[in-house]
């Protein structure tokens, strides 16, 4: 079954800017997709459609998740299935303590309090955050905040993970840790990012957006190796895919 199907989706912001222009894509279960493109290409807007935060009024069912069309009636079920990680952790950590924040999702979905506690404990364990339950999000480091956000989403046990720029605020160690964590995480993943090395490492498929349209879609290495395509859309062929790698010394040259 397709984890996500989007058919002819267009969207204009209230001020008249066209953000999405006839987008059609599908994602299979357990696939990991890298969504790349220049700033303002519509990546974040597309992500917000995946659990019905946009459009403001849902009229046409152009998005469906695991076979369920996004509509007003299905919103709670859709939001349960789709875990959305926002770009700025401060926007997502809105509760006074780490525990309350991770518990927010399960509580909203009406789980009994002991199930909530179990879900929170498990999510904190998986993200390596045990022991900071009573801390205030304001005093955590950037990497810790990001992990609490992830824990808050995992506690809802989503089947489709949608991540908006997950590495933009992280230091290299944080990036490495996040990448290996996501690698081990069994779920369908869609990652919007400028971090092309991350896409090469995690994603089997890359989707390139520009000007609200999908301009390329295919196997990651194939897409990201096309230097011209990358440059044309404000990207670049990542370092690790350069054929003549400047730092690589071949064995016969010592």
């Amino acid at each position: 079954m397709n984890a996500l199907t989007i058919r002819h989706l267009s969207y204009c912001y209230p001020d008249g800017t066209t953000a999405l222009d006839d987008v059609t894509m599908s994602v299979e279960e357990n696939e990991c997709i890298g969504l790349i493109g220049p700033n303002g290409s519509g990546k974040s807007t597309l992500l917000l459609h995946m659990n019905g935060i946009l459009p403001e009024k849902i009229s046409v069912n152009s998005v469906s998740v695991f076979g369920m069309a996004v509509s007003r009636e299905t919103l709670p079920a859709i939001r349960r299935m789709v875990g959305l990680l926002f770009q700025d952790p401060d926007d997502q950590l809105f509760c006074p303590t780490v525990f309350e924040d991770v518990a927010f999702g399960p509580r909203q979905f009406g789980e009994p309090e002991d199930a909530v506690r179990a879900a929170v404990a498990e999510a904190l364990e998986r993200t390596g955050l045990k022991g900071i339950e009573s801390r205030s999000p304001h005093h955590l480091s950037g990497g810790e905040k990001q992990r609490v956000c992830l824990a808050g989403i995992l506690a809802c046990r989503p089947r489709l993970l949608v991540l908006d720029e997950p590495t933009s605020d992280l230091d290299p160690r944080g990036k490495r840790e996040l990448a290996s964590f996501l690698e081990r995480l069994p779920a369908t993943k869609i990652i919007a990012t400028h971090d092309l090395e991350l896409v090469v490492r995690l994603c089997s498929r890359a989707v390139v957006m520009d000007g609200g349209r999908i301009v390329a879609d295919g196997p990651t290495v194939e897409i990201l190796s096309q230097a011209e395509l990358m440059l044309e859309h404000g990207l670049e062929k990542p370092h690790i895919l350069q054929h003549s790698h400047p730092h690589r010394t071949s064995p016969d040259h010592g």
Binding site: L48, I53, F86, L93, F94, P96, F109
Partner: protein, 203 residues
């Protein structure tokens, strides 16, 4: 800025900290009502609540220097309001009464804030039947107050690093822009927070 500016010692471990939040909130409100209700004429009556609060402060192990500094921080406001009474005949007594009542009430609130974590108080509000929306607004205010303060600090730092001739008029104009910017940014942030809340099932 660290937001434990408000409640730095609320997570200590002392007999007072271990009391249920509801009990502490009830006692605090009760004692403020009592202090406000004391007759102004007999100042010696204020000795009793003062003594009680001092004992609680001692048991709670909050550093006395912190308590004194925190009271002095707000005292100018109290003195300012109380001093208005000195302008009328026989206002001295009222002045002293307002000064004593306000200072003791302030002392009570500082003790409450620094012996009870804010989220525990929120839980009491919720159980006590305060409207859920109001509790949420309080929680968000506590959470984002210092995100906002930090943002303002960053902006004013960026501003002063490009201000070479801070004339008074110029400074005011820049201040106004900073405030407007801050307002716009907060309303945009509010939208993003709302999206993040709905994404996790808020209705």
């Amino acid at each position: 800025m660290r937001h434990d500016f408000l409640d730095r010692y609320s997570r200590l471990s002392s007999p007072v900290h271990r009391l249920p939040a509801g009990v502490k909130l009830g006692c605090a409100i009760g004692s403020i009502l009592l202090i406000v209700g004391l007759p102004s004429g007999s100042l010696w009556l204020f000795g009793l609540p003062t003594l009680a609060l001092l004992v609680i402060a001692a048991v709670s192990r909050i550093p006395p220097s912190f308590l004194v500094r925190r009271i002095l921080f707000f005292e100018p406001l109290i003195v300012g309001i109380a001093a208005l009474n000195l302008l009328r005949p026989g206002g001295g007594e009222v002045f002293l009464a307002i000064l004593a009542k306000s200072t003791l009430s302030l002392f009570t609130m500082i003790l409450l804030a620094n012996t009870t974590p804010f989220h525990a108080l929120l839980r009491v509000f919720r159980v006590a039947g305060l409207p859920a929306l109001l509790v949420t607004v309080l929680a968000l205010m506590y959470r984002y107050l210092f995100v906002l303060v930090d943002e303002a600090e960053r902006m004013s730092r960026a501003r002063s690093s490009r201000t070479f001739d801070p004339g008074a008029l110029r400074l005011w104009r820049v201040m106004a822009t900073v405030i407007v910017q801050l307002f716009v940014r907060s309303s945009e942030r509010a939208e993003r927070i709302f999206a993040a809340m709905t994404a996790r099932g808020w209705q």
